[in-house]
Symmetry: C2
Amino acid sequence: MLNEKLEQAAAILNEQQIDAWLIFVRETSATPDPILDLIVGASVVWPAAFLLSRNGTKAAFVGAIDAAGVQMRTPFPVEAYKTTIKDPLLRLLQQLDPQTIAINYSRDDVMADGLTHGLYLMLCDYLQGTPYLQRLVSSEKIIASLRGRKSAGELKAIRESIAETLDIFDKVTSCLRPGLSEQDVAEVVNQELRKKGLTPAWGADHCPSVFTGPDTAGTHAGPTGRRIEPGHIINMDFGVAKNGYVADLQRTWYVLRPGEKQAPAEVQRGFDVIRQAIEKATAALKPGVAGWVVDAAARDHIVQSGYEEYPHALGHQVGRSAHDGGGLLSPRWDRYKNLSFLPIEQGQVYTIEPRLTVAGHGVVTVEEMVVVTKDGCEFLSTPQLELMCVGG
Amino acid sequence: MLNEKLEQAAAILNEQQIDAWLIFVRETSATPDPILDLIVGASVVWPAAFLLSRNGTKAAFVGAIDAAGVQMRTPFPVEAYKTTIKDPLLRLLQQLDPQTIAINYSRDDVMADGLTHGLYLMLCDYLQGTPYLQRLVSSEKIIASLRGRKSAGELKAIRESIAETLDIFDKVTSCLRPGLSEQDVAEVVNQELRKKGLTPAWGADHCPSVFTGPDTAGTHAGPTGRRIEPGHIINMDFGVAKNGYVADLQRTWYVLRPGEKQAPAEVQRGFDVIRQAIEKATAALKPGVAGWVVDAAARDHIVQSGYEEYPHALGHQVGRSAHDGGGLLSPRWDRYKNLSFLPIEQGQVYTIEPRLTVAGHGVVTVEEMVVVTKDGCEFLSTPQLELMCVGG
């Protein structure tokens, strides 16, 4: 996959007319640059530079103690240095004389913001007195395109992660019953992960997230000792990582009360509104549309149906990370910066995850994953079309 | 441990006369700030600010979707925001009016360089037109003192990790024999890790690192299919993480050839020179001395004994990370910046890890861990005093 993405990167440099892209990192176990996994494939301790030019030149300058390990893993040809990276780096820049040099910083996109401020200052020190200091630009557009446009291999890997994730959701559905705690449900998931030899898509402390009933801890919190009771809405946010690519899905259940054959009308209505919101969003989602337009399609429907708006974006891109950066399906809030305005591109993979609260019961939230096609989008996940009822 | 370190941090702010320390982060699973584990204890998705003042004020502004999960884990009082972090952050700064505001960037120390360049620019945008923009300073001295000065709880945790690590080294000693590959030896270690329910101290792809014989892949490389043969020197670099603190140790073995009762003279001499280098280093290591002086004590002895100098630092600090930042026992090379010149402080934990090559046999490298005392240092690891021989 590294070579596939590296070729794509060189094409994107040409398309965006950027001469060179410089990835400057150190001690990546402590301060990783999210781009490393996608095109470098190795970790370093000493300061290291990986350079790609639009004519396809690849070069890497890596500390003496890192060189052998890096060369075993990366498609970049590695040159080891002993006391300073400055000399080989300047030598290469003089040789290539790039008019623009993209580096990994971005106010808006965390996945394009892998360069720490101290390393940025160090790079500026090295380039002081050269013409290259004035030629530094942000790589955010390169990275947004590169991460966003999924290759065939990437889509295949994402589909596999989705299949494994839905399989574990099915297992959870068959186990849910009143009396289990959120932590008990999480343990069912963790057992399945161990059986499959897979890891969670994000931090194990809140992957899965499990919420039962009203007044739960809220999104991004870990499962608690709170127990499932009749009348609760249960939801779970979860995904697996497999072969370096992840899924991110949510499903909702209702726990029947004695004598109930189906969910009460207010719970069913909440689920229906979420389904409608997802339909409105996927109808709006196609290349060229700004992300906020898709968010608004779902958000407006929920608000017009009498519910409070969800306090987050409708969706984000997914790839090697659950939050894979680039454009978002987000409202035009300062917190989302420019990411709400980026045009959607073919080949991108988004979540669609509206949410609403049904008073006294809990939170209805369904999260699907879609891939953007030439003129619309297709579900990658098998959508949850019916509210699942537990017990009875 | 979080509260213990937070109290220490407030004292260090007073000692260094810094009014406030601002930790500004986002999407910490992709771009973590290494300080989070030490004093915050939580991860976030949306931009978040954690502020500590020298009079002990603690505050955290965290996105609405992160707030509940963060509050479950951190000792900071959490205030949730919905659309922008700018307003609550500026309000607090106006209230405290700090004359100096430390932020996490450093040219020299990666553990103090957790702020990305894009986030730095975003912070500057927010502070534009306020007096606070001119009051930003680097937190590198705060972080060097805070990480370096180990509390009693931290030292206890490190001793436990060392004990577990040496236990696994003993297991390896009892298993080594000609014909095993480096990967086979690593699998012995991995089995022990699984039995103990522990994780490696750094990336599993090269923790343990195992090297047998001459012309191996070099430091920081992963174990290969290369097989142990009589006449080889074997060395292994390994440590466990336990309760959030790690060990980092190396041991060396010699594989006897048929008829040999002991290692040949040139191998034994290599080991003796390494032992002497460690003794010279620990004799020089005490509070107030610059790190490079300690490195030079070992390095000079190895060079004067006729070996090539090792291409790395003699030692680094250890704590939550194997490479825990702050001052180093390093040569005055550009690559190590100012870190070779910092005075050693009581309570710091360092590795001592000289290395030399014995032609035709392999690399002799022994890595011990020491804690700096009032007027010297003490071994935390039980030192390897004898070359261990395999087979015979």
